[in-house]
């Protein structure tokens, strides 16, 4: 394994344990970074230790202790460390199994609702994902300095306001878990834009870690299923820089292994009963991959999802399914009731239905409105092509 891979593999696990024992994310981050830097220097020379995680945690803790000795100001925070130091545990490199896996505590801290959503996302990518500040800034198209301030502020707030490093009690778990899953899915959706940082892969990694940590939560399994079912079509989704619609995608490019993993997870989620919004979305994603598509069932599941989320965007998707079942005018009737004028896909979906209904002039207007709101070049090209086709016919 290359050191970079070691870093990616272990960063979250190492950092979480350090936050647990040092009680401060900033301090833990500095210590972990030092330990990885020492590993970069030593491992190629001396060979990788038998227990890399244990080695990294011990080394980082020793470094943190050194640092704290130098900065006596922080003495308060290190009661625990001081005790360990006295006990002489410094030299020993315990088994990774002896260090508690505290990634779950860390992710609940990072996704605490007292932090702004953008801070939750950035912090989760930094601490659990091990992305650098620059990478996160690049992914969210903000200057590195802005992202750095956002992260620093969030870490200060966690420390100063006393945001707990803990898995929430059962009565709060559903709400808090929903917040964690929302962050992961937001990262995944940001990744769809085809940015320079592979956020989709990052979100899937986070999703996988969550399924290891919370294997009995249906929605955790369902979210990973949903992401895998979407991501399996990654290679087929763009051709020559242009978005390829689902029905026109080359199915040979779909990742069969990911699809089968996704379906397996979906079944496990469904077997737990009482499917939540991610399970319903994953079921819909799976139905979309079948040929011919079962629009009846798709429309019914969207209806369920509207009930669960109250989201007009879900209603927009239901309109598309209704149009397949009952014709474009029926779909347009559903769309007419929606307040989504700011949403680009509302206009592109409406344009498509208007075109099918033979209302070309209105379709042209809708395509142009979608173009105004388009966010990527690929979207723009795709819309321009559709608009051009409309003019020809």
């Amino acid at each position: 394994m290359t050191l970079d891979a070691v870093f990616r593999e272990h960063w979250g696990r190492v950092l979480a344990t350090l936050v647990g024992s040092l009680g401060d994310i900033g301090l833990a981050e500095d210590a972990a970074q030092e330990a990885f830097a020492i590993a970069v220097e030593r491992w190629p020379r001396d060979g990788e230790p038998a227990n890399p995680v244990g080695w990294l945690i011990s080394t980082a803790r020793n470094r943190a202790i050194d640092r704290i000795r130098r900065q006596r100001l922080l003495a308060q925070k290190t009661k625990l460390l001081a005790r360990e130091l006295v006990a002489g545990s410094e030299a020993a490199v315990p088994d990774a199994a002896n260090f508690p896996d505290e990634r779950l505590e860390l992710i609940f801290t990072c996704c605490h609702p007292a932090l702004a959503l953008e801070a939750q996302v950035a912090l989760t990518l930094r601490t659990l994902g091990g992305l650098s500040t620059e990478e996160i800034a690049l992914a969210f198209l903000v200057p590195a300095e802005t992202m750095s301030k956002r992260l620093t502020r969030a870490k200060h707030k966690i420390r100063d306001a006393g945001i707990p490093f803990a898995v929430p009690p059962d009565d709060q778990l559903p709400d808090r878990l929903a917040a964690v899953l929302a962050v992961v899915y937001l990262v995944f959706n940001q990744g769809w834009g085809g940015g320079r940082v592979d956020l989709a892969a990052e979100a899937i990694r986070l999703g996988r870690a969550l399924t290891e940590l919370l294997p009995d939560e249906g929605e955790v399994l369902a979210l990973l299923a949903l992401m895998l079912l979407h991501d399996a079509r990654r290679e087929a989704r763009l051709r020559g820089g242009e978005v390829v619609l689902l029905d026109e995608q080359d199915r040979a490019l779909w990742d069969e292994q990911q699809l089968s993993d996704g379906r397996h997870l979906l079944q496990r989620a469904m077997a737990r009963g009482n499917p939540g919004p991610y399970a319903v979305q994953a079921a819909i994603a799976d139905l979309h991959l079948q040929q011919p598509r079962d629009w009846q069932q798709i429309a019914a599941l969207y209806q369920t999802l509207v009930g669960q989320t109250g989201s007009p965007i879900v209603e927009l998707n239901r309109a598309i399914a209704v149009a397949e079942l009952e014709g474009p005018e029926a779909g347009l009737t559903v769309l007419d009731g929606l307040d989504l004028d700011h949403y680009r896909y509302f206009h592109s979906a409406r344009a498509e239905l208007l075109r099918r209904a033979g209302r070309d002039d209105e379709a042209g207007d809708a395509y142009r409105r979608a173009l105004d709101l388009a966010q990527t070049d690929a979207e723009r090209r795709s819309l321009q092509n559709q608009l051009a086709r409309l003019r020809v016919t």
């Binding site: 605490h112 609702p113 007292a114 932090l115 702004a116 801070a119 502020r153 200060h156 707030k157 100063d160 306001a161 006393g162 945001i163 707990p164 929430p168 709060q172």
Partner: protein, 112 residues
């Protein structure tokens, strides 16, 4: 009469961890000062407001010029979750407004 004195600080001097100025400390030590608290900077604040379905959390201080500062409550809690639970309970008893939850850096209270 009892009075609450609300001290406002400037952005540039909001590092709560700095030691208290000795002249300030001398005033605070006078017998008529029955309590004081130094707060962490406003970036550590969380605001509990009212939403469509119960209370609503926002990151950051409460900012709305139409509202006025109506009261001050000091509580003890294990962590922010404990403090927010009390703030939520209080906010549910009120109509409108909001409660800003700010950690106290250091404080001293005596019987009035």
């Amino acid at each position: 009469m009892q009075y609450a004195l609300l001290a406002y600080g400037h952005q540039n001097t909001r590092d709560a961890a700095r030691p208290m100025d000795s002249a300030t400390a001398a005033v605070l030590a006078r017998p008529y000062v029955t309590g004081w608290a130094r707060l962490h900077a406003d970036e550590s604040a969380t605001t509990v407001g009212s939403g469509d379905a119960g209370t609503l959390l926002t990151d950051g201080p409460f900012i709305d010029t139409k509202e006025y500062l109506a009261g001050l409550i000091v509580i003890e809690a294990d962590n922010l979750d404990g403090a927010l639970a009390v703030a939520r309970e209080l906010q549910e008893t009120r109509t409108g407004g909001a409660i800003e939850v700010r950690p106290i850096f250091e404080a001293q209270f005596r019987d009035a």
